[in-house]
Symmetry: C2
Amino acid sequence: MLYVIGLGLADERDVSTKGLEIIRRAERVYLESYTAVLLVDQQQLEAYYGRSVILADREMVESQSDEILADAHRIDVAFLVVGDPFSATTHTDLALRCRQHDPPIPTRTLPNASILTAVGATGLSLYNFGQTVSMVFFTDDWKPDSFYDRIAENNTLGLHTLVLLDIKVKEPDLKALARGKIIYEPPRFMSVAQCASQMVEVEETRQQSVCGKEKLAIGVARLGSDGERIVAGTLQELSDADLGPPLHSLVLCGKRMHEMEWEYAREFAIDREGFDRIWKRDYAGKV
Amino acid sequence: MLYVIGLGLADERDVSTKGLEIIRRAERVYLESYTAVLLVDQQQLEAYYGRSVILADREMVESQSDEILADAHRIDVAFLVVGDPFSATTHTDLALRCRQHDPPIPTRTLPNASILTAVGATGLSLYNFGQTVSMVFFTDDWKPDSFYDRIAENNTLGLHTLVLLDIKVKEPDLKALARGKIIYEPPRFMSVAQCASQMVEVEETRQQSVCGKEKLAIGVARLGSDGERIVAGTLQELSDADLGPPLHSLVLCGKRMHEMEWEYAREFAIDREGFDRIWKRDYAGKV
């Protein structure tokens, strides 16, 4: 059996008690290590689980899944995923391979907390979210802006948009690679500030009033942990906000944002007066 | 401290190990018992947690929250919620009351699995969902159809819609009430079949091709448990499908449904040939 086990968002103790039992008895334990990370290191995880854990990077999951699935039709293999297993399509892909395996490998998924719902901590109603988008690190010559069209679509319905922020782990250093050396760059995690400023940058080009400086947004960091932080403000304000260590995410507020959502979210505002003024002027159900 | 602790979806062992520690040491433990239920009974929960649990019905949470919050500025109170704490706005409301309490009561939320993400088990990408809607039990003279407008909005963008199904627990028997007696009706949980047939019924009145008989949908039951069941088909087919005991939910597929989603979902089809034919004709990215 392949068990795909969600670990939740913060630390080693967010696993379910059922998940922990399976991890402790499984033959092999893998940890998917490239779409998200916990806020604690591998040693702390291994100490608590009482198991050593094999890190599964993108290459292993996408190209060497045979190794992960070896003998899983007769032994138990645990594949651990930070957050909820279905938040990344890669894991659907792994499940498809189990079905197509000869003999087929039975799979079982243990759901857990995901940023997609934990973001309710902002006070925004999960019923008022449209499609989720991703934001990647811009470079000088690569600034993909398809997120802009998705947010524009959500905006037509007045819905909030959750923006998931890029992380780069185990990225090869391209200059070293050109010299024939494989050196990995230090991991990078996009901050709320960088996301907000990239959004404003794209707005300046596209100019459809989708994510300009005065749009209201809420930045979140380390949700579900003791050090959780939530900051609300305009995209301009968030471009300068420091929410501390990763992981960060951002929600762009939709105009349907109703009074109870506002009442809750304004407590997190950098400038409460400004937040209230803009909410009353541009939001408050004005779709 | 008020701890709002998500219990996950299936049974007593879906709580996180961190959550379990808090439950075991808290002064009082409440279980929210009206927006969702676990698939196991209260005794099983209490036996595993090693604590007796106070059932908190809607009236207690909405009108007698003082009782729940009593002394919580100096002792630990655990408030357990099936699924994820933020999936119901009631809990945001409770957190607001903690802020306004004199002295303020610190709160901490432990996220957990939610149907909003566990629905990824269908193979549909969580990035392709629009707003979530609710479906209530129709009666002869009350058939609220605002869900129809929300789904129509999602449809314009080709997005999937998660439909959460009504549950009725501790509803007073109105006939007995008229005779001055309070008798509670047995709990009722909407099935995928009933939801699908209500959707088709409303389509017959509204006729905007939002949720007619030939629309593709996926019914899910008891997600995250051993007895999880997933069935795909037209709304017509799902109107006759029996997915067994609660809880059920339904996803109406959006036209943006891409090939990898289809490939995964078709495995659950009641009539695979028919499913493929309709997907190719009406879906496959045809927004």
